[in-house]
Assembly symmetry: D2
Homo-oligomer: 480 residues x 4
């Protein structure tokens, strides 16, 4: 159950939260297109609307109108391969002894099954097989005996993995980020309230001000009157495990995550890419849209070095190729890439070109792209990638591919170059990533590029000796 998702939580003084939540989800739509949902609380009861599809399709005007209350949370969910299951759409909401709970989750627990089994031993029954329901049940159970902050702390001490959560307990909106800070979460201020969101672009959309990132292991509780918030450092992590792929690929360029603006990080990675493995060619072309910032930095560094390389667009992306597309038949399959990307001949024909992309996963698209460029008359095609090779799967919420589907899973860069028929191929080093993010390697999750993970995952190596809290309800050191 791997998920890339976006979460949001809003508490306002007076105004209904439904519309700001709706616009926030629009701003986070790139983080999940499978389902969208909003749960609000009007002081007396919860209102919920969760549907499959894009934000714009999932909500009609009457849906927004029915979502009363100045407090609410929202969620967009990523289409995972295979089953599209409406029972996993979020926010997940339940009522229990001490009120109602709503949860939006971005991330992936590594011990959800264990905790689920423990709760089942205590009689809990589950309507889905998702992580989120497990967290909700655990939290609900803790709330029978503890106040809100202690209950969240107890749950945090039990769950292990990556999570950024927005939670609504009755009308109180909370935000929690896992102790490793794997997935992003930030807090912002509006004219009449506060907002928690996966990315700062959602805050911008509401004309709000980004205050700061939620810290790893921190709980933020928005005041129910919309006038402030309290914070609690519930767990003090020794090391963080920020996902560097948020900056490389997943987040919006205009978002600031863990104090670094994504667009600038990508441009700097592009500059480093030139420094590490720059190659002279007539022109450097981004693979749109995500390669654009890398390519711009790469070209700038090259020109500063005195290179004559030209920065141009060479591939036109068709914005309309969407979900309901009828795929070409087998013998038209090589044409598929052309429906999405068409070469602009003037910048390619008779030239040596360098294309800049953020990653190579399976390699299929790269192979087709290079063929396309050669068909369009490129003399040479050099490939530069703004990240290290992906050699292992992600267990923290990004559905990349299984290990043997990864082209770099068991091949060197040279072997890959030959397979995709490029004239040269270079990846960026891990050090360049750490340097650019101004973070030590031990504070990043590098699992997908090293195969060593900051979490205990069955059958995988761990990259450090992290002391994990004991799991159990009897005694929880963090409660002291």
């Amino acid at each position: 159950m791997h998920e890339k998702c976006g979460v949001v939580g809003i508490s306002l003084e007076d105004r209904d939260a439904a519309r700001p939540l709706y616009y926030s989800l629009y701003a986070l739509q790139h983080r999940g297109q499978e389902s969208a949902g909003i749960v609000t609380h009007d002081g007396f009861q919860q209102h919920s609307h969760v549907e499959m599809g894009l934000v714009g399709d999932a909500f009609g005007p009457s849906d927004l109108e029915s979502l009363n209350g100045s407090h609410g949370i929202g969620h967009v969910r990523y289409p995972t391969a295979g089953s599209v299951n409406s029972s996993c759409a979020q926010p997940f909401s339940v009522s229990f002894k001490s009120g109602s709970l709503g949860l939006s989750h971005n991330g992936n627990l590594v011990n959800a099954d264990e905790i689920g089994d423990e709760l089942a031993d205590l009689g809990h029954a589950f309507t889905s097989d998702g992580d989120t329901e497990v967290i909700a049940h655990d939290l609900a159970r803790n709330l029978l005996e503890e106040d809100l902050v202690r209950a969240v702390k107890r749950t945090m001490n039990r769950i292990h993995g990556s999570y950024s959560l927005t939670i609504m307990h009755d009308e109180t909106v909370l935000g929690v980020r896992d102790p490793e800070g794997n997935r992003p979460l930030c807090i912002g201020e509006l004219e009449d309230g506060y907002v928690l969101a996966s990315e700062s672009a959602a805050i911008d959309t509401l004309d709000g001000e980004l205050i700061r990132d939620v810290k790893p292991g921190e709980l933020v509780v928005l005041h129910a009157d919309g006038t402030g918030y309290d914070t609690y450092q519930l767990v003090e992590p020794e090391n963080t495990a920020h996902c560097f792929f948020e900056h490389v690929y997943f987040a919006r360029p205009d978002s600031t995550i863990d104090e670094s603006l994504v667009y600038e990080v990508r441009r700097e990675l592009g500059r480093k890419l030139w420094e590490e493995s720059g190659v002279e060619s007539d022109v450097v072309l981004p693979v749109p849209d995500s390669g654009r910032a890398f390519a711009s930095g790469y070209a700038e560094a090259a020109q500063n070095d005195g290179s004559d390389i030209e920065f141009a667009e060479g591939l036109m992306k068709n914005r309309y190729v969407g979900r309901t597309f009828i795929m070409p038949t087998q013998d038209e399959r090589e044409r598929a890439v052309r429906l999405k990307l068409n070469p602009i001949k003037s910048t390619i024909e008779g030239k040596s070109v360098t294309i800049i992309d953020d990653s190579i996963v399976r390699g299929t698209t790269s192979t087709q792209l290079i063929q396309l460029l050669k068909d369009a008359g490129a003399d040479e095609v050099h490939v530069r990638i703004g990240a290290p090779p992906i050699v292992a799967p992600c267990y923290m919420g990004i559905d990349m591919a299984s290990r043997d589907e990864l082209i770099a899973g068991n091949q060197s860069a040279d072997e890959i170059r030959d397979e995709i028929e490029a004239d040269s191929l270079s990846y960026l080093s891990i050090d360049a990533i750490a340097e650019t993010l101004e973070t030590s390697r031990t504070d990043l999750c590098l699992g997908c590029v090293t195969g060593e993970y900051p979490y205990d995952i069955d059958g995988e190596a761990t990259d450090r000796d992290v002391v994990r809290p004991e799991i159990g309800t009897q005694s929880s050191p963090a409660d002291d």
Copy 2:
């Protein structure tokens, strides 16, 4: 949360149960048009498809195909006024420590809130506010400590109210009927398996044979190999509380419920109606479709008495007036009845007519109908009703109306006659009902016609001293 619903459960030797479940739900569609659902089990896992709408719209061929397994349960749900909430659609399914549970419920608990609170004290969290989830959680909890039969018994000793349930525990299909036998449930045999259903017409549809009604307080467990079933009389009721309105209005005429064929009951009630309050007139007309059997019995008894009264159709029902109908504007409103029922003038004009209906709820339709008949030239319009006046609401699962909406709530028959402008009006006696059903009054639920209920309902009188089992998890005498 009042519901009229239909439930079904099927266990087959080999064949997939999805299609027989689908056809059964079609046969029970009159019991609920809001949502339809099927849950099956293939020996390894549950499959579920639940959707809003009619059976024919809720399931496509691929949905049926995905519902693997020879065992399953199904549900159709009634559109209740106000909120149409997809979270209440059934069957409700959960996974818990000892496997998976699916539940289909017809009826209404009177102590769901109490039990829900108790479960919440134990840490349970609920995703809906329906009775069915409460039963599911209670049963799941009991299954942690008991075998299936004892777990069901313990749950039956706790829940109080009306219920006919089909349950699926992993691949085992069960049927349970409340100790008062308020809602119907019967068991039938197929060539290659067994079926539990709200009405025998569902069994007919599958070319099966009705075996018998499930007894009040009885549990039926279908063998997972489709070759037989076991029964357990878990609770021995002193009195039953069969809903007589199933025979009068709700069930299909071709169903046999508690050993009485509905069509024959209605004809006999029609005969008694003539005996009790027959009035000479030129013609007797049924209000279609439900008044037809009453009118036929009424006319037969009259003719046997030597009356010249003619039995004819006088009102034509438009079969196409459905859910998506645009209602007339206020000043066209009196026309509304005409879109549904149009007089056949030849049987009305210049004649004294008697119309036979099964009930009068609010009286609005009756008033419009009588006006319509007079406009069509009727000299006199006599109204005869095949049931006693409805004076109080139903708490057992039929959403009639609130007490002050009921025209008979605080008016005599004569006052009602004047209000609806009939030339005469008579209802059937309660004794006629009891006699026809060959049941003593103390074994019927007569709440809606007496205001005294066989269950303890806040603010309502009870019609007897029923000894209820103690509610509590610590000790349950029925377990002994």
Copy 3:
């Protein structure tokens, strides 16, 4: 291109016609469920909304609102086997030199291809292959040279076949019935206007009064101010060719067609059926719904003759088996009839039964029904049909079946009885039909029961020597 359809036209003093048209189409929905459409005119321009599906699905509130104007026509269309083509949905509307035209057509031309070819020679281009477009183009062409009445007359002299049309020329609403009066059309009065409709039940629905049938060969022109209408007997037919099947099967029981109330015709046919071929049995059962009136007359005549035969319901129809139904697989196929009709055992078991139906087309359903009744315990099953055997196809707008699909196409009643395994089988005589309708045989279209048609149809016999008007634009005697 055979079609059963319903047409309507309304002209009001002041009020918008859209809602009355909508309710009229609801009342005529039984005549066509494939598509529904309304075209109105507000004095300045036409407004049109035509969609596939039932009336309730085809129109939303905003659609009705957009259909401005006090004048309009409507149409419901029958689902013909095979292609469901939105280009054939009606009303058909065009603009031409002298304004705009809208047409709703019920019937079937026999010379549409000829006229279409002539118009094509003159340069006309067609967007569909329907009769209606041919009539519209011909009429538009005539309107270039003639006034409205003469133009209609000229078109009537050219087209040959069965047609009841409602036409809107700018804001003038017309009704035309073919010279043989094959399809019904009547005129009614509302409080504030006039209405033309296929059946009088549509007029009833609007609280209007039926004035009379439009006469064969007559044109009715509603005044644009809603205060009256003019009539023109454009063609004087020697003989009519009323379709007797409208009374037997197709029309609503509460409609009056050609001065006979359908319900009473069916009861009288039932009485004649007893007289001609009554058989003693314990019980007489209608095949619902259309057999009910026949059976009621049959039982009445029997009882008047001193028979002890009982009239009862023996088959319960499932009202929900609709279009989106997933059909049983091959080996479940014999079960199909059971999903639609379920026996009520008490009136069948151990009894000799007579079932009354309006027709036997292919015989498949009859065979299944008889089997069903025998399975339910009937000792004997006698079949009586309220119409003569159907031996030939209909070319006049009813899509019955091709000749070799008709069970009576080349078999005697005795052979059919054996095939369907009935204990006895009788049809009604043609004379009984003519007598009941108080019409001579030569004034009825009896094509489907005699194989001789009142129209010249390629490869079929004609039942009389009708002098047809010459076809041609040069001289048209009717213009004189």
Copy 4:
């Protein structure tokens, strides 16, 4: 009835044309999102599927399968303000005396009403009020008397305005471009056939080779066996009237139109924009996506001039803001631009910025954008536009705005600068456009930037003395 549209026509040796047509329409989707349609011919009959919505929504796999035949045409249509009318969706298809016709039209006739009236005088009736039906009827009429080429010529001599047409006469696919060449149309070669399309990108998508633009006044007839094509220069224009806005805004950057690659034209216009009105600032930012090529040329020219200006992305576009978006309420309205474009602060804060856009229409978005940039910390905001000011409406098929909605309709650049609160504003000169397109001003349609049109438009000035062919059916000089 102004329309921006895309047209395509394909003739293949053997393979079904439906899928290539479908992928072509995908490639042309940017030219129209309101409706999509394909008409094919299989040698015996036409098949048609036209629906409202995007290509991906309008066609399912079964739709493509039903579109048999190796020959076909397709169309995408632009959403025009106000009425969305399914009767105007294209291709338009009719059958007439000499076979069947299908038409796809991009452009706008100026004398459609005249010709429609003439055809109406001859008896023609129209089902829509679109240009396309007029052309179809005229062509069908001419085909009664002439062969295909002469018939097209006669029609071209009658219709006046802008049009690129793909036509299918039975199985013959044609392409025609108006004598002024206002809208684009080109021809390409596939492995097994030929294709006509509005833009060369559609040909690329099919792995085809662009052969050349169809010449103004030229007819191209694809051979029905897919092996070649014939061309006919039916009208010899003195001057062309190419729409320069195709290159500036409407076409895809990767398309070649009238021998100029759109991307290169835009970059060159950007260079000229620097030359004409370059302004020193810290950074130059494109307004995505259409401003990107202009900005890249502008920055390049600046840097070549020794400027230190940096080229960067400063505005992030939300790709998901679509049709079903719920608009902000009045007091949230200023936020609307933020949902679509969010500033990337690092490239804006504390800097003087220049933004490059392709046009300013009403000015609302520009005003909001500048405010957005200042809120994000820009010290100065300079605006440079890659085209001349739009001072007058377009009558040739692009729905810009009415004259008084145009911000440049009656204001100077300085006044506009003040209104939108920019620090400076410059437009590109008309001469720069003509020079870049290597076309004289008299061969361009400059109506929207000069108010003088190359066509006779009621109430508008004409920019030249064009000798127009006489309109009339009696004698047409081009027929000689």
